[in-house]
Symmetry: C2
Subunit: 191 residues, 2 copies
């Protein structure tokens, strides 16, 4: 059984350049603050506020680079706080039908998203080379075991294979907290 890096993704938003313009000003370019484990991806300096009639959460991190769709990823705990019922969905799925809406507030403007809010399906990033070594294929579901006082085995972990991916499991904060993960840990991949 292979050892894998397990990381926890806090609530965040992916934006189109058009929506970056609306929230941060025309022609604004996202400023990388720190790189993420997947090559080219970064946490931006920019943050937004997410708001519904039931709750508002500030300082929600924008992830870069810009994408060709705008998507908000929150945990189920946060969805309940917001009064939303987003689906658990592959965060690379570009079809945002039947997802929840939310208001996004930036320093220069706001968006009233009618859709785009999801709870991310737990997943593992794998490069093509790693996929061969580990005998994994894109779209497969595997298990990941976390040790510790809140030991858990996560099932239905979606395998995503891309040439430039780096081996890492991504959980949301409910999953990370349920497993007692602080920051990141090494888990066990069970195929």
């Amino acid at each position: 059984m292979a050892k894998v890096l397990v990381e926890v993704s806090a609530r965040h938003i992916h934006l189109t350049q058009e929506n970056v313009n609306k929230l941060f000003g025309e022609g604004h370019q996202l400023k990388p603050m720190r790189p993420l484990s997947q090559p080219g991806m970064f946490a931006a300096e920019e943050t937004v506020q997410l708001s519904t009639p039931k709750a508002a959460i500030e300082n929600v991190r924008v992830l870069g680079p810009v994408r060709n769709y705008t998507q908000v990823e929150i945990s189920k705990t946060e969805a309940i706080r917001f009064g939303l019922e987003p689906p658990v969905r592959d965060s690379e799925e570009i079809n945002l039908d039947a997802t929840a809406g939310i208001k996004v507030i930036g320093p220069k403007g706001e968006l009233n998203l009618e859709k785009g809010v999801i709870i991310a399906w737990r997943h593992i990033h794998v490069s093509n080379t790693q996929a061969l070594e580990l005998r994994l294929r894109d779209g497969q579901l595997v298990k990941v075991k976390i040790e510790g006082e809140r030991a858990i085995t996560f099932e239905n972990v979606l395998v995503r294979v891309r040439p430039n991916f780096s081996l890492a499991v991504h959980l949301d904060t409910d999953e990370g907290n349920a497993a007692g993960i602080k920051g990141s840990v090494i888990g066990e991949l069970i195929v």
Copy 2:
């Protein structure tokens, strides 16, 4: 493998009669609103606000009957929101040393608890008869598997055997949300 009821406990507080008096008025008696799965236990009509310098959460349910210690059970997600670092601990453990503090606000007064905030260790309530049938002993750690799109196997589920207990697994909201549980579900006990 036995089937077991799995319930999710939202944040709540257990109070001494002395602290009920401080929060709700001298001689106040908790009013049962609905019974819980464990005989004699109830969700009370009374709620309190929990507050720290970082956040406040209203409408936190009081559970009855009163106990001889005051204890607040929250999820790790809520602990982070409050800026607290409570331990994951058996919620029947009366020793509250090294737990977190919090302000509790009621309609007639408030408490500045120096300790008593915990994250509950996942556990299963079992009657003496059920323990014999299922070959479980008090203090044992077992596994519980939840099916569904967010399927999970929880390890280190603490067995609690008492004559009047009713068979039920108790998770907190991080654990319940990580497993995609709405309300309660039937899980699989793995000994």
